[in-house]
């Protein structure tokens, strides 16, 4: 009944995530987000809308914040992917952004948090001196339904001001 198309045939895919190599088999239509979550077991990346608006699935692809729900796993091969699981040190030491979100009460339910952390990390790593207005504009890429954003902005500013990211 169902026609078989090229998109339905699973192919080998190699993803480099947080410095580790993951060899998986995935249909070409499989999103990067689903591959990270279900094939690599990295469930810290969340899916809030699956149409590229909410930003909960934000990861870094070669240092750039991207929506992993809008990318296919196959097209992410060869890139260095970073997810929330790679932020803290191997010894469990929190990244300054993680520390700042905690201190500033920048999360409530925590569902959007990994996306905001990766967005903020990508922004501060490329533009450590970003101005307040541009920072707000950058953070307006993602949705949070709990915090009203104020404490998220305060957290990211504090890391920027300390020059820690």
């Amino acid at each position: 009944m169902t026609e078989i198309s090229a998109a339905d045939v699973a192919v080998p895919v190699v993803l480099r995530v947080n410095g580790d190599e993951y060899r998986i088999t995935a249909q070409p239509r499989r999103t990067l987000a689903d591959a990270l979550r279900d094939d690599c077991g990295l469930t810290g990346t969340h899916l809030g809308c699956e149409h590229g608006v909410c930003g909960a699935c934000t990861v870094l692809l070669d240092g750039e914040p991207v929506r992993s729900c809008l990318l296919f796993a196959v097209q992410s091969q060869g890139a260095e992917i970073r997810t929330v699981e790679g932020l803290a040190g191997d010894d469990g030491t929190l990244h300054p952004l993680q520390e700042a979100f905690w201190r500033h009460h920048g999360l409530q339910c925590g569902f959007c948090t990994p996306g905001f952390l990766m967005l903020s990390a990508g922004v501060l790593e490329t533009r450590p001196d970003i101005g307040d207005d541009e920072l707000r504009e950058a953070l307006s890429s993602n949705l949070c339904r709990c915090t009203g954003y104020q404490t998220i902005v305060e957290a990211v500013r504090s890391v920027r001001d300390a020059g820690e990211a």
């Binding site: 810290g44 608006v53 929330v84 009460h105 409530q108």
Partner: protein
């Protein structure tokens, strides 16, 4: 930097300690429903009606069953033996014929109405196959307005006290208005979902089914699912994990919960369902959507002697678990903080062909506060008085506390337990620098800007009983375990409960572990709604910990109450209107809120600021619009607009503890909803002020289209 600091040795109640919940959420180790999976799990996809109203001739599933990976597909026949989903709250016999069945059988009543399910080995394949279902519907004319004569009219809620007729007969002036609050909802960032896992058991209940993704009211849902499926209560076990936002919407018992559990039991394998965002916008409870006609009888001094209100509540296609909760709250809390000696109200519950409605943060209060505060502004304009002055004249004075409102809601009499409303208003005005702020805005208007100030006041409710149980136990190694039947929806309840427990036992709050939402750990529990957890569970843990301190290793306590507590607040908004586009920018927002006693001021402020964001969404942006065929027009985040940081103003919170509740030993009132309640009211008033037209904004959201139309008049 090391671990965040944690204060020791000081009083913990009132301390803004950092949250216990945060570390796993920060490092990607959260366990939300989508993060839970089992080796042999199946995936369920719901087939939904894409017609708003029609006769369902049948659902053709032949092609679905032949598709790759499909294990089963069912229409309504499979679950025809299951009853409709009952009310959890505020049930009325008149509403019962309109409860939703698990799958629609003969009629479809909204776009999104579940008509069949597909269960497959893989979520992609389940979705592919579901698209092959043939849903055969003969369309009928949809009803899209609650006040249309075609709308099914099961029930009108009525209440009257005082002498309304005499007040109107003797009124110095009668002030009247019509107002509408649009349809919007909670929209948590995590969509709904459920994973049901059959487990072989050797206990007294035998085989069981565990439910992951359960939220808000785990005990109620497990017991109800068990009863509906013919199981013993203990055979359905709630396994609450992390919950990605609640807001009233998530965790109510929905048809999907029954479909998933039934499928798991029938197929003998774990079955997982995670809805997509479009489904959430079509199928999870909508809210608000009330249209009012109100009149006030006002005496010569500007005192409102009576309010006569009539409103329509658009319930959508079915009545769900909340029964008449939302209109019931509108009825009871419309008079708000004002004396209003005489009051008459009729709330007409009407069925339409839209998504069924339920509660959303400040249910019935966001709507009725908008209407009442618009009315007070209209009275002020009629009498040529300042909006703050007209409110001050009408406020219930502190010496009248406790104040019996003369009306019941949620099965309890509305008796405001404590409050000094005028003092809170003064605090807000002082903070604003009210007079100079008004002069400054007038000067800006004189220079051509469209800027204005609006205020709104309200009484909230919190701490709904009637009971909460807590068990406290000392652990080996110095820790303490608290077990509660309450639930977490991300609000920080573990931290707050640990603070209260640690304060009593003089231990570090980080050594207190709070276990919640696990239905096999405690016999009963009411969950997390109606801003109840800090009050009800907080006092229960206070009682249990006090007993433990006296007696030893384990203690249990129950906190019973027949009354809610009533926090109260005042909002102020400063807005700027763009004359060209009609766009409204909120420049500044202030919330003064009295919660009796704040266990953790940082978390209370977080609740308020987050609540303001949702209130601004409802005031300016969020709307479930429908076309004339009943097709929903907001089915993605491209069309359903929620505030981003760009729309959110700086929010100043004036947290007040003037009026501890006399109804519990800690003086607690709940803090979850007051950030949202008066946003519509304050922002509408500010827009009026900005455009120099008192009473202009009578419907929400005040979209650019609406505001621009007001500017053109």
């Amino acid at each position: 930097m090391g671990e965040p600091d944690r204060p020791r040795g000081r009083s913990l109640i009132g301390e803004s300690v950092l949250r216990l919940e945060d570390r796993p959420l920060l490092v990607g180790e959260g366990r939300f429903l989508g993060d839970v999976s089992f080796e042999d799990e199946l995936h369920l996809r719901v087939v939904r009606s894409d017609v708003a109203h029609g006769v369902l001739r049948g659902v053709g599933l032949e092609d679905v069953l032949a598709a790759e990976g499909v294990v089963a597909a069912w229409g309504a026949d499979e679950v025809a033996h299951l009853p409709a989903i009952e009310f959890r709250m505020t049930g009325f016999d008149e509403l019962r014929p309109h409860c939703q069945r698990v799958l629609a059988g003969e009629r479809v009543r909204y776009v999104g109405d579940p008509v069949a399910v597909v269960i497959a080995e893989d979520p992609y394949l389940a979705e592919d196959a579901a698209e092959l279902a043939f849903v055969d519907v003969d369309p009928l004319e949809p009803v899209l307005e609650a006040n249309s004569p075609e709308a099914v009219a099961p029930l009108t809620l009525e209440h009257e006290h005082g002498d309304v007729e005499a007040a109107f007969a003797g009124a110095h002036r009668i002030v009247e208005l019509r107002a509408t609050v649009g349809r919007h909802s909670g929209i948590p960032l995590e969509t709904r979902g459920l994973l049901a896992r059959p487990v072989d058991g050797d206990g007294p209940d035998g085989n069981r089914v565990e439910l992951y993704g359960i939220a808000k009211v785990p005990h109620y849902n497990c017991v109800t699912i068990a009863a509906m499926l013919g199981l013993a209560p203990g055979q359905v076990v709630g396994r609450e994990g992390h919950v990605g936002g609640g807001f009233g919407v998530r965790g109510e018992l929905y048809p999907e919960d029954l479909l998933v559990t039934h499928a798991a039991l029938k197929l003998g394998r774990p079955v997982k369902w995670v809805e997509d965002r479009r489904e959430h916008l079509l199928a999870a409870n909508h809210s608000r959507d009330q249209t009012y006609h109100v009149r006030a009888a006002v005496d010569a001094d500007g005192i409102v002697q009576a309010i006569d209100a009539d409103f329509f509540h658009d319930q959508g296609g079915y009545v769900r678990t909340h029964g008449a909760t939302v209109p019931n709250l509108s009825v009871a809390l419309l008079p708000g903080p004002y004396l209003v000696p005489s009051y008459r109200v009729r709330g007409h519950i009407r069925l339409t062909n839209k998504t069924p409605a339920g509660t959303y943060r400040a249910p019935g209060r966001f709507e009725s506060t908008f209407v009442r505060e618009r009315l007070m502004d209209a009275v002020a304009a009629t009498y040529g008085l300042d909006p703050a002055e007209i409110r001050r004249r009408n406020l219930i004075p502190p010496e009248s506390m406790p104040f019996d409102r003369g009306v019941n809601t949620l099965g309890t009499p509305v008796v405001y337990d404590s409050g000094d409303y005028a003092r809170l208003l003064d605090r807000l005005l002082d903070h604003l620098g009210y007079e100079s702020l008004r002069e400054g805005l007038a000067a800006r208007r004189g220079a051509g800007e469209r800027v204005g100030l609006g205020i709104g006041m309200f009484v909230e409710k919190s701490g709904l009983g009637p009971f909460d149980d807590v068990r406290v136990r000392r652990l080996d190694g110095g820790g303490v375990e608290v077990v509660t039947g309450a639930a977490s929806v991300g609000q920080g309840m573990e931290t707050v409960i640990a603070q209260i427990c640690a304060e009593v036992l003089d231990v570090d709050y980080v050594d207190v572990t709070v276990r919640h939402g696990q239905t096999d750990m405690i016999g009963r529990g009411l969950g997390a709604f109606a801003s109840r957890v800090t009050v009800m569970t907080g006092v229960a843990v206070y009682l249990a910990a006090t007993e433990l301190a006296a007696t030893g290793e384990v203690a249990e306590a129950t906190f019973n109450t027949e009354h809610m507590t009533y926090p109260y607040g005042a909002h102020a908004a400063v807005v700027r209107v763009d004359e060209g586009t009609g766009g409204v920018t909120v420049e500044r927002y202030v919330v003064a809120y009295d919660v009796g006693r704040a266990v953790n001021p940082m978390l209370v402020e977080g609740q308020i600021i987050g609540g303001v964001a949702q209130g601004i969404g409802g005031a300016l942006l969020e709307l479930f619009a429908y076309d004339s065929d009943g097709q929903p027009l907001a089915t993605s985040f491209m069309d359903y607009l929620m505030p981003t940081v760009a729309e959110q103003p700086p929010v100043e919170v004036l947290l007040s503890e003037d009026a501890p509740s006399p109804l519990n030993p800690l003086g607690l009132k709940g803090a979850g909803e007051g950030g949202t309640t008066a946003c519509g009211a304050a922002i509408a008033a500010a827009i009026d002020d900005a455009i120099g037209r008192p009473g202009a904004v009578t419907s929400l959201p005040a979209t650019p289209e609406l505001v621009r139309s007001l500017l053109r008049i």
